[in-house]
């Protein structure tokens, strides 16, 4: 049976007249890694801070491990948090940084430090305990921050854009580390990012947020393949949004017609650029052809407007100005509105 680790019930957070979180209901299951994804100002960080207790909800309730913590300050909750800037204490050693939490919560100093050593070893930092944070590399600092967050076996570990201070090259490695640590320790984790690729890579489930509300919740593949709205289709990956009408289960737009589900009326279809195939000759015309190393990207002028097409590098390359036809399989189109 799955256990609920975190639950939001109609949570609202207002700052004066501005509403940061406009009523969220959400359950997070024990042991999963859930990502809050969205553009800046969508309320994802606020939601994370509501779990941490760094903000208290204006209305609604937050449950952690089955307990209503809506009025509890951060210090009274059992959460671990990894901050964007790591927020390591610059004036004390790595060991003291990690042992800080247990000491605060009343563990005798020697025991706390023993536990801190153990965790540091597990994250691969053995031997660096006596250093000051400033004497570590960025990646090492990150691992200290994670060690510090998990040392107290928190009910949930929170990551606030943890990769934004990491070199672009290291990101993949660090996010894999985070993911494997989370799996190894069986941690419930909530992860905030505005980078959709990062979200797709690390998450069990993704919560896409827009203007303080949840736009869609699902696994990475669900979101990518079946976006629930044009916003999500556009935000996660690239998408061609085609507007048309549905009459008796048949979607029609200039130059195309195929069966879709759902009610009749105006409709929007989302088609991923890599799902479209091209063949030379036809009604449409390549506007630009961009070489991206791993693939080719074409912008194609059609009757329905400009469309983005992405093709593997090994296919015959087209050039700008060439006349082409587009081929779309009905199964690759999802109706988003």
């Amino acid at each position: 049976m799955t256990q609920t680790a975190i639950e939001f019930r109609s949570v609202v957070k207002r700052y004066g007249t501005a509403t940061a979180v406009a009523g969220i209901d959400l359950s997070i299951v024990k042991g999963e890694l859930v990502t809050f994804l969205g553009p800046s100002g969508c309320g994802k960080t606020t939601s994370l801070r509501l779990i941490a207790g760094l903000e208290l909800p204006s209305a609604g309730q937050v449950f952690i491990a089955g307990r209503d913590v809506s009025r509890d300050p951060a210090s009274a909750r059992n959460v671990g948090m990894v901050f964007q800037s790591y927020a390591l204490f610059p004036h004390v050693s790595v060991l003291e940084n990690v042992a800080y939490g247990p000491v605060i919560r009343g563990t005798p100093k020697a025991e706390a430090q023993a536990r801190a050593r153990e965790i540091l070893e597990q994250v691969g930092l053995a031997g660096l305990e006596a250093r000051l944070p400033a004497e570590l590399s960025g990646g090492q600092q990150q691992r200290v921050a994670v060690a510090r967050a998990i040392v107290q076996q928190p009910d949930v570990i929170l990551f606030d854009e943890p990769l934004s201070n990491v070199d672009a090259k290291l990101r993949r490695k660090v996010r894999e580390e985070i993911r494997s640590l989370q799996r190894r320790f069986g941690l419930t984790a909530v992860y905030v990012t505005h980078d959709q690729e990062e979200a797709l890579a690390v998450s069990d489930r993704i919560v896409v947020m827009e203007k303080g509300r949840i736009a869609q919740v699902g696994t990475p593949s669900e979101l990518y393949e079946h976006p629930a709205s044009p916003f999500i289709a556009d935000f996660i990956g690239d998408a061609n949004l085609i507007q048309g009408r549905v009459v008796q289960g048949q979607f029609t737009a200039p130059g195309m017609a195929f069966p879709v589900s759902g009610p009749d009326g105006p409709a929007t279809l989302s088609i991923r650029p890599e799902r479209i195939t091209l063949s030379p000759g036809g009604p449409d015309r390549v506007l630009t052809a961009t070489y991206l190393g791993s693939r080719m990207e074409y912008s194609v002028a059609t009757e329905r407007g400009e469309m983005l097409v992405s093709r593997p590098i090994f296919e015959p390359r087209l050039t700008a100005g060439q006349e082409v036809s587009l081929h779309i399989t009905p199964a690759d189109a999802s109706r988003v509105a």
């Binding site: 009274a76 909750r77 948090m81 901050f83 927020a87 605060i104 107290q152």
Partner: protein
């Protein structure tokens, strides 16, 4: 488990409250067991509701699961606090101030003394309980420590900043019989001895307001000009005395008041060294030219130039040299560059420096009283209205309202000026490019202004250093002696142990006590306030900030008068105690610690504190483990500054000293007034030495642990004297 832990904290407040009403003397000077309960049973029945509330709260805390969220808890705390204040202010020393209370409690006609230990502690306990109640309802994100800090500081500010000012206003507007009396106020405020322009038309004296304004404008203009000359020489030339100039700029901060005035008299008085020489040279009779505007002006310019210097130096150093370089590469001559680039960029800083000096001049008390002669200004007039034989609090209050209005207006203009996009170009990377040298003409003008200033300052301080240790510097009797020092600080070992006979001991000991008590408190409250403002979001934060700024802008004389008006009668009857001196300093110097703290906190990533919180640290622990270690330099600045100010401030304390608790500056003022210059100077020298020694000791104690480049040297503003 958790509820129990939380509940225990709440119990401490209600326990404290119980102790306050059951065991401690409720009234000031009361006997040990004359608690609220005992007094209530003995006839002061209006105290019984408080006892009842305390008992009910304790019962609730023990019985309910969490009294803090229980509606009855909130009601009891609110009612208790309300009643504590109502009965305290409602029933005075001589009977009820609110007639209704007299009807309700016939025994109230006999009145009641001021708050004692019990009442104070009850107030603190109720404030603590109120913070718990609010925190439990989500105030301050549920942080109990932060909630307590905010409620506590707001209460303290209301009591020790707003309440006295309100009392002062009412003293200005309300007649002795307690009714609103606008006519006396209007008569006073329009009196010709305030506004007369007689000295300009030649038909009499000028009013004090006119005098104050003339002095303020002249003094600020000259001090700004001199400050600019100093700043240009230090920042933009290879002038050789740079280090000396910087050193001189610190002197006024540690110089006790009056002593510069006295030194000026010794040099320029009618029998002064310079006056006599010059008079002989020209064969004219020496005159008392220094008394009045010229003397005050001289002393003020000497005192304020270092302040304007620091402001302008910061602005000059912030100007991106590439702007000036650009102008030069476009073919502009140095004078043109200065006129078209440097000068316009400096203008806001000049305005700020001018207003700062203007405010200080308005508030200055020490110089006018020594050098003023018949030239009255607002601050001295206020002093004589209260301290002189006429003892007219209404008059003093009216003048104070006037002075306060002028100061706040200037202060407001200044903040507006600085708040609105100043053009100072701080880009963080101004190391590219060399500073434009100042055009020759301007440089020589600056040198011409600065050299006399330096000579002057050296001369003045030479007098100060020598004056205390020669027989009579005023009469140029230069026989060396320690007699003055002995008069002030004589002592003897005899059968009663060590007995201190010197007349200055009392004031010296009090001064040290007051400074030593107020400096850490000022620092603590200031840093805590800074932390609240920088890190907490709460309703009324803007009003809170304004309150702290207000205590900064109020001239010392006004603070002194308002404290007399507010704290001479129950319930808060603390005039004549050491506490009033300490409190006065804590709230006057609070903005210094606060500003240093805010500047330091701005450099520290907030998430470190949040990290500490998520690991289980409450607000107090966060402050101790994370914030304080990281802002050590700011703590040191605040500590030193409040210590030094407490030792040298005069304008507010002159009203608050008493026979038992006299302060060094008040003592020195008495000596100056009586013409005992040598004694005054000797004492001032001792005071300066003590300050230097204490600052050095504090330096050792707090230590300067540098964190990378984070050693903040903040230009500290100081409260209007």
């Amino acid at each position: 488990m958790k509820a129990l832990w939380e509940g225990r904290i709440g119990l401490i407040w209600s326990g404290l409250l119980l102790a306050a009403v059951l065991a401690l003397p409720w009234y000031k000077g009361g006997a040990t067991l004359a608690s609220a309960l005992a007094e209530g049973v003995a006839g002061r029945v209006w105290l019984l509701p408080l006892v009842g509330a305390a008992l009910a709260l304790a019962l609730l805390a023990l019985l309910s699961r969490d009294w803090r969220i229980h509606p009855a808890g909130a009601a009891l705390v609110g009612a208790g606090l309300g009643w504590l204040l109502l009965q305290g202010f409602g029933i005075g020393l001589r009977g009820p101030a609110l007639p209704g209370l007299g009807l309700l409690f016939p025994t109230a006609l006999e009145g009641q003394p001021g708050f004692g230990w019990g009442a104070w502690l009850a107030g603190i306990a109720l404030i603590g309980a109120l913070a718990e109640v609010l925190a439990a309802r989500g105030f301050c994100r549920g942080e109990r420590f932060a909630a307590f800090a905010i409620i506590g500081i707001v209460s303290a500010l209301s009591l020790f900043v707003f309440f006295p000012i309100v009392k002062l206003m009412s003293a200005a507007f309300v007649g002795p019989d307690g009714t609103l009396a606008l006519t006396p106020f209007l008569t006073r405020i329009t009196a010709s001895d305030l506004w007369s322009l007689g000295c300009l038309t030649g038909s009499g004296r000028c009013g004090v307001v006119i005098n104050s304004l003339v002095l303020g404008i002249l003094s600020a203009a000259l001090a700004t000009a001199l400050g600019l000359a100093l700043a240009l020489l230090v920042a933009r030339t290879d002038f050789r005395m740079k280090r000396l100039l910087r050193a001189i700029s610190i002197l006024p901060i540690i110089t006790p008041p009056f002593v510069v005035g006295v030194a000026i008299l010794v040099l320029f008085g009618r029998t002064g060294l310079v006056t006599v020489e010059v008079a002989e040279w020209f064969g004219v009779r020496p005159t008392r030219w220094i008394y009045g505007l010229p003397g005050i002006l001289l002393a003020q310019v000497l005192a304020f130039a270092p302040v304007t210097f620091l402001v302008l130096l910061a602005a000059l150093e912030a100007i991106n040299p590439t702007l000036e370089e650009a102008s030069t590469t476009l073919g502009a001559k140095p004078v043109t560059t200065f006129r078209t680039v440097t000068w316009p960029l400096l203008r806001p800083a000049l305005a700020a420096a001018f207003l700062l000096a203007f405010i200080e001049s308005l508030a200055d008390f020490g110089n006018p009283i020594v050098l003023g002669g018949s030239y009255d200004v607002l601050s001295t007039k206020i002093f004589f209205a209260v301290v002189g034989a006429q003892y007219d609090l209404g008059q003093a209050a009216t003048l104070s309202v006037l002075l306060l209005t002028l100061t706040i207006a200037a202060f407001w203009v200044q903040t507006r000026w600085l708040g609105r996009g100043s053009y100072v170009t701080v880009t963080g990377k101004s190391d590219a490019g060399l500073v434009a040298p100042v055009p020759g003409l301007i440089k020589w003008a600056a040198v011409a202004a600065v050299v006399p200033f330096v000579l002057f300052t050296v001369g003045i301080y030479a007098i100060v250093l020598m004056g205390g240790f020669v027989k009579d510097i005023a009469r140029m009797d230069m026989a060396p002696t320690f007699g003055h020092l002995w008069t002030a600080f004589s002592f003897e070992f005899n059968e009663r142990g060590i007995q201190l006979f010197g007349s200055a001991w009392n004031s010296m000991i009090t001064t040290l006590w007051v400074s030593a008590l107020s400096a850490p408190l000022t620092m603590a409250v200031g840093i805590l306030t800074a932390w609240l403002i920088a890190r907490q979001d709460f309703t009324g934060k803007r009003a809170f900030e304004f309150g702290t700024l207000l205590s900064f802008a109020i001239p010392g004389t006004v603070v002194g008068v308002s404290y007399i008006a507010a704290f001479n009668v129950p319930p808060i009857d603390i005039t004549g105690t050491m506490a009033i001196l300490v409190i006065c300093f804590v709230f006057r110097n609070l903005p210094v610690g606060m500003r240093a703290g805010i500047a330091a906190l701005a450099q520290i990533d907030r998430s470190m504190e949040e990290a500490s919180q998520t690991m289980g640290a409450g607000g107090g622990r966060v402050l101790r483990d994370v914030v304080l270690p990281l802002i050590r330099p700011a703590i040191f600045t605040a500590l030193v500054y409040s210590f030094v100010t407490a030792m040298t401030a005069v304008s507010a304390v002159i009203f608050l000293v008493s026979a038992r608790h006299n302060m060094a500056t008040a003592y020195i003022m008495g000596r100056v007034e009586n013409g005992e210059y040598a004694l005054a100077i000797a004492y001032s020298t001792v005071l300066m030495l003590v300050m230097v020694a204490c600052v050095a000791a504090m330096n050792g104690l707090v230590g300067k642990r540098k964190l990378g480049r984070r050693s903040t040297v903040t230009g500290t503003p100081h409260p209007a004297e």
